[in-house]
């Protein structure tokens, strides 16, 4: 039974090494499957890729990183269960996850009570407003998208806006935010139309907007196939006012669906989407180009802004742990809150006790679709 004792010896050695080198545990719960898989899938892939890369580069504080992640399938109830397991059983040092706002908000009370730094990858403004002690987030908010669009409209002399939005959660939230910030931005929303989640024709709503001679520009707050149909219908009924879409359709998919009708449409998007078109002097150029290259080499598929959010989340956690010099949760949280000038895929992050996202409007780029491709609006 020589092999048995050899195995035992090996096991003892390995256990001993593990004890001396307790890894830093990064916990995560993501919508890897289900309806929100287009969010969770690139997020999980990104976390795996960069935990591996960080370990290959020697880890953090002389310790290895370990990723513990669960598939919440976009279900808030599952997210809660997994977050509980991450905190109590896996004893993770920090949580980077939560693909959707629903999952994130379900987990907030848990992390607040247990005192674990939590970086969410979901969009809505409610996550960081009001500020919660242990909760941070990386993606832009829909409020910023509204503001970015309104700023651009005003620059083109349009202050009376027609709004058309869908019935989905994203659409509704963005519509509400746009209505809220319009006044502060000096624009007035004078038409407000909606369409159903599975509607196939929006010419009726657009005709109503066209009937209002006051409208100077149109904004479509939407997600999925709706905005592509709106864009096609917009051209069909011959509307020529500037048309804006949201960051919700900032992907090549939208151009493919809307075809020629997409020509001239403007929308706000993260720099990651146009990494090859950024000026060399752009502060984000290096990080987005590098992330794009590494992700594409590994997974042979296009990068999405969602994967970028996960990259930013992980890197912020790493920066904070490095700055804190330990994995003590309270010290990591304080370090996180004081991080300034981190350049990520989503923008330049300046966190503070009053701002747990740390992005300003410069994080969004205004794009215009020309000849079936993105161009940066100067």
């Amino acid at each position: 039974m020589a092999w048995k004792s050899a195995l035992t010896a090996l096991l003892v050695l390995w256990l001993g090494a593990a004890q001396a080198q307790e890894p830093i545990r990064i916990g995560s719960f993501l919508a890897m499957t289900g309806g929100a898989a287009f969010l969770g899938d690139p997020e999980q892939k990104t976390l795996e890729l960069y935990v591996e890369k960080l370990n290959a580069a020697g880890g953090l504080l002389g310790r290895k990183l370990q990723l513990v992640s669960y598939d919440s399938a976009g279900d808030a109830e599952k997210a809660r269960t997994f977050a509980k397991r991450l905190i109590e059983q896996d004893k993770v040092d920090v949580i980077v996850g939560g693909s959707t706002t629903g999952e994130t908000m379900a987990v907030v009370p848990l992390v607040e009570q247990a005192g674990v730094p939590f970086i969410s990858l979901a969009g809505a403004v409610v996550i960081i407003e009001p500020v919660k002690k242990w909760v941070f987030k990386t993606p832009h908010t829909d409020r910023m998208a509204c503001e970015k669009v309104f700023v651009d409209m005003k620059a083109r002399g349009a202050t009376r806006v027609g709004l058309i939005s869908g019935a989905g959660g994203f659409d509704k939230s963005m519509r509400a935010e746009c209505l809220k910030v319009a006044k502060g931005q000096g624009v007035e929303i004078i038409a407000d139309e909606t369409y159903g989640a599975a509607d196939t024709d929006m010419t009726t709503q657009l005709t109503k907007i066209r009937q209002n001679p006051q409208v100077q520009a149109v904004l479509n707050a939407g997600f999925g196939q709706g905005p592509a149909i709106v864009t096609k219908n917009y051209r069909q009924i011959g509307m020529t006012l500037p048309l804006y879409q949201s960051h919700g359709v900032a992907s090549k998919e939208f151009i493919k669906l809307a075809g020629d009708a997409a020509e001239g449409v403007r929308l706000p998007a993260a720099a990651l989407l146009v990494s090859d078109k950024l000026a060399d002097s752009d502060p984000q150029k290096i990080v987005v180009a590098q992330y794009t290259r590494e992700y594409q080499t590994r997974y042979k598929s296009d990068v999405s802004t969602f994967g970028g959010h996960a990259y930013d989340g992980l890197m912020l956690a790493v920066e904070a742990i490095r700055k804190a010099g330990s994995t003590d949760r309270a010290r990591v949280r304080d370090a996180l809150e004081s991080l300034k000038g981190y350049v990520g895929t989503g923008g330049i992050v300046n966190l503070s006790p009053t701002d747990h996202m740390g992005l300003d409007l410069s994080a969004f780029r205004m794009l215009e679709i020309r000849k079936g491709d993105w161009t940066l609006v100067k």
Partner: protein, 291 residues
């Protein structure tokens, strides 16, 4: 007639024709078996998705369309043969539940065979809108309306002039009597599933350039088509067309003149009202229970 009204009307007719095509598929299976086939929407999806993927693989569009319709018909036949047929002794409710299960299965398979993305299909004859008295219409809408008309006429001929069609009608009126005069009702049921699957696929292909297509497009179109079939009178061909058009126009007018937020609500309240006063729909057979 103002240009605005005309635009709403054209929008309503376009959507209405789509609903009508889906509703026709419901009616055919209902006639043959009194089963409401809740997988009807999935045939719409299969038609669109198969055309997109075959055309994407380099097949010329007409060929891709023909292949997609055949594929859908084959799946319809298989559904009848392997899921409905083995349960033929069961109650109608059981059969309806089987079709619901089939629809979930087909949607799942579609995400595996194809993907979860939304796909465009090129319009058959360009995208340049036609102008009619200040309103506009895309050429594809004419295709939808035209083919719907052709199909209604073809179905009229099929049910009125062909042996299989007459057998189908006879089965719908009285299954036992049909069996007694020598009609093979099992074949009739099989044919009805194949036919309505093919019809659903045609609908899915025609609308794909307007609505795009994806693995879950059948859910909402199926529901609206079902509503149109109920509205027109379940089992009636002209009723399905009328129901579809009324539903489409009601939605468009509701969105245009009342509020786009309550568009679906307006349409469905209309249906409820019709059903309260005309329980068998606009053109349905007035059924009387014999005791």
């Amino acid at each position: 007639m103002s240009a605005q009204f005309l635009q709403f009307l054209l929008a309503g007719v376009t959507i209405g024709a789509i609903y009508a095509l889906v509703a026709l598929g419901f009616s055919i299976i209902y006639n043959a078996s009194h089963v409401i086939n809740f997988a009807q929407g999935e045939f719409v999806m299969i038609g669109g998705m198969a055309t997109v993927s075959l055309a994407g693989a380099g097949l010329p569009l007409p060929l891709a369309i023909a292949a997609a319709v055949l594929l859908a018909a084959a799946i319809g036949l298989a559904l009848e043969r392997f899921a409905v047929e083995p349960a033929r002794g069961a109650s109608v409710v059981t059969l309806i539940i089987i079709t619901i299960g089939a629809s979930i299965l087909l949607r799942g398979l579609a995400t595996l065979v194809w993907d979860k993305n939304i796909h465009p299909l090129k319009a058959f004859s360009g995208e340049a809108p036609l102008r009619i008295g200040g309103a506009t219409l895309v050429p594809q809408s004419l295709w939808v309306i035209g083919i719907t008309l052709v199909i209604v006429l073809l179905l009229g001929w099929f049910f009125g002039r062909t042996l299989l069609g007459k057998a189908l009608l006879a089965t719908s009126h009285n299954r036992l009597a049909a069996q007694l005069v020598g009609i093979n009702v099992r074949h009739v049921l099989l044919a009805s599933f194949g036919l309505s699957a093919a019809l659903g696929a045609v609908a899915g292909i025609l609308v794909a350039p307007i609505t795009f297509t994806s693995w879950d497009i059948g859910v909402m179109l199926g529901l609206k088509g079902f509503a149109a079939a109920i509205l027109g009178g379940m089992g009636s061909g002209p009723g399905a067309v009328l129901g579809g058009l009324v539903l489409g126009i009601a939605e468009a007018m509701g969105a245009g003149y009342v509020s786009s937020a309550y568009k679906d609500a307006i349409a469905f309240i209309g249906i409820l009202a019709v059903l309260v006063f005309l329980p068998s729909g606009l053109l349905g057979k007035r059924s009387t229970d014999r005791v």
